[in-house]
């Protein structure tokens, strides 16, 4: 029932709004511990929005709330609203599985299923719809090309995915997410365990992918945000301190906390 209710809204409302996600007075807490406090945020379509902030500031909690993966955490409570294409995702009757197929997510460490490279790419999509053999191969090729992995693995699609390097595994995870054709991709520090070359490959890929997808990217690395972000969101201690165009915030932040954070980050570099 929820699926029927969600689908028309996703397509109809989505075409009429520039912001694909809108977060209104959103709060998250576990027991007495407040993690996010009164977050107000709009995420524009087909742009890269980077969320920055110190460790434990609530960045990951925020993006994990956007696809409701936090629902699985016991004891977590939320208040406020997150709208995706104008529709509240926090209603009880929302089909969470369908929502997650529209808002894909890539985690900090690559999570590879004990299957072949091809099966990993197809893992999500083949549970969402029936595919012929030819379609499977086409989807695998298309998405591995999208993450610039095709040339490296084309000759060994049936090899165990675990045989790939960590950087390749992370790109495979992104390909797996792209295969389900989401509208938004959430990336929770996807390059934190990668070497500079793999990091750069993923950054370049993100810049290309934003033509088709809306990307929300959590990072600790200010330089990385500078390289890829169109918009920047600074979160500190569960509060949204500043948001706006990346160029503007990085060159002349208005809030003293943002200034201090950016200054410290640059000093660390």
């Amino acid at each position: 029932m929820a699926e029927k209710a969600l689908k028309p809204n996703l397509s109809v409302v989505g075409k009429t709004q520039n912001e694909i996600i809108e977060i209104k007075k959103f709060q998250v807490w576990i027991n007495e511990n407040h993690i996010l406090d009164n977050i107000e945020l709009k995420i524009p379509k087909n742009e890269i929005t980077c969320i920055i902030g110190p460790s434990g500031s609530g960045k990951s909690t925020l993006i994990r709330s956007i696809n409701r993966i936090n629902d699985e955490v016991s004891g977590i409570n939320t208040q406020g609203e997150i709208c995706f294409n104008g529709l509240s995702i926090n209603e009880k009757d929302v089909d969470v599985a369908q929502l997650r197929s529209k808002i894909g997510m890539v985690f900090q460490k690559p999570c590879i299923f004990p299957k072949s490279i091809k099966e990993n790419v197809l893992f999500g999509i083949q549970h969402l719809k029936k595919l012929s053999k030819l379609e499977k191969l086409q989807i695998a090729e298309e998405n591995l090309k999208a993450v610039s992995l095709w040339k490296e693995v084309a000759h060994r699609l049936n090899d165990k995915a675990i045989s790939l390097s960590i950087g390749q595994q992370q790109r495979l995870c992104i390909a797996r997410t792209l295969a389900i054709k989401p509208e938004v991709i959430l990336l929770d520090e996807p390059t934190s365990s990668l070497d500079p070359v793999s990091t750069r490959a993923i950054e370049d890929m993100m810049v290309k992918l934003k033509e088709e997808y809306t990307i929300i990217f959590v990072t600790h690395n200010i330089q990385q945000a500078k390289r890829i972000a169109d918009n920047l969101v600074f979160i500190c201690d569960g509060k949204l301190i500043e948001q706006g165009s990346a160029a503007k915030i990085l060159s002349c932040p208005t809030d003293p906390q943002t200034k201090a954070y950016l200054r410290d980050e640059y000093c660390d570099c």
Partner: protein
């Protein structure tokens, strides 16, 4: 006492403990092999028993034991899987989880004879099922349920959360995550627990002697509601004729076959666990 001496003393103590344990095991195996091996022959393994088991073979006893544990495993596995999945994936209430754990451990601690008495009162008398191998399988499945459930639960629960989250983030429903991700990875734990449980159950006498077995004159059962003869009850019957050297010889031979079956199940469980650990490390 200095630290080095304490360290050596501790090392020696645990070494002695291992040695004592191994000696007991080898002593038991040695006696069983020494006395049982002369009785083992192709005829002994393939012929039926006669003269109340004192002569002849043990083919129907082997068949009866395997029949009981195969059906016990078939009855137990889905219940154990269901309980383990519910505990691991659905039951978020910590108190309820602890309560279920306590119940499972309590079930594990019940003496096997109590299971036999329960089977006799409930299945044989109350439900009027009579003495049948199927009732024996049900009772044995109840006995091994805690072992299989806990092993499966530990196996599923040890799967890193990121697998659950990664598959959920791809749009899989809860049941798809369970079927596609958790069960394939947790299944080896269930099978290991099952084999350990079966290795225990195949040697049990008390729970089945009142409800599932006849001590002699039984061949292949033609229905679910007939008794079988099993190795443990056969050994018990022969031990009661200990003054007869032929019966004693057959008892040792039957014991050796039973021990071999237990070892086969235990080694299979170990093999599956090691294989799964190797795959997980890859």
């Amino acid at each position: 006492m200095n630290r080095k001496l304490k360290n050596n003393l501790f090392y020696t103590s645990v070494g002695v403990a291992v040695l004592v344990c191994a000696l007991i095991l080898f002593f038991l195996f040695g006696i069983i092999i020494w006395n049982g091996l002369p009785a083992i022959s192709l005829d002994f393994l393939t012929n039926s028993s006669s003269d109340f088991g004192a002569t002849g073979g043990i083919v129907y006893q082997i068949f009866g034991s395997i029949l009981l544990i195969v059906f016990a495993a078939l009855i137990c596995l889905p219940i154990a899987l269901g309980t383990a999945i519910y505990k691991s994936e659905y039951l978020k209430n910590e108190t309820a989880n602890k309560l279920i754990n306590t119940l499972i451990y309590s079930l594990n601690g019940i003496p096997s004879v109590i299971f036999g008495i329960f089977g006799l009162i409930f299945f044989v008398n109350l439900l009027n099922m009579g003495i049948s191998w199927f009732v024996g399988s049900i009772i044995l499945s109840m006995m091994i349920l805690p072992t299989v459930t806990l092993s499966t639960y530990q196996s599923i629960n040890s799967i890193p959360t990121v697998y659950r989250e990664s598959s959920s983030a791809l749009g899989l429903n809860k049941w798809q995550v369970i079927v596609q991700v958790l069960l394939p990875q947790g299944f080896s734990g269930a099978i290991t627990g099952l084999l350990i449980g079966v290795a225990r159950a195949i040697g049990e006498t008390a729970p089945i002697m009142f409800i599932a077995t006849a001590f002699s004159g039984v061949k292949l059962p033609s229905s679910f509601l007939e008794p079988v003869s099993t190795l443990p009850t056969h050994i018990l019957a022969l031990a009661q004729q200990a003054t007869n050297p032929a019966a004693l010889q057959n008892a040792w031979g039957s014991s050796l076959v039973l021990v071999i079956l237990v070892i086969i199940f235990s080694i299979s469980a170990l093999f599956i666990r090691l294989r799964h650990q190797t795959i997980s490390k890859r």
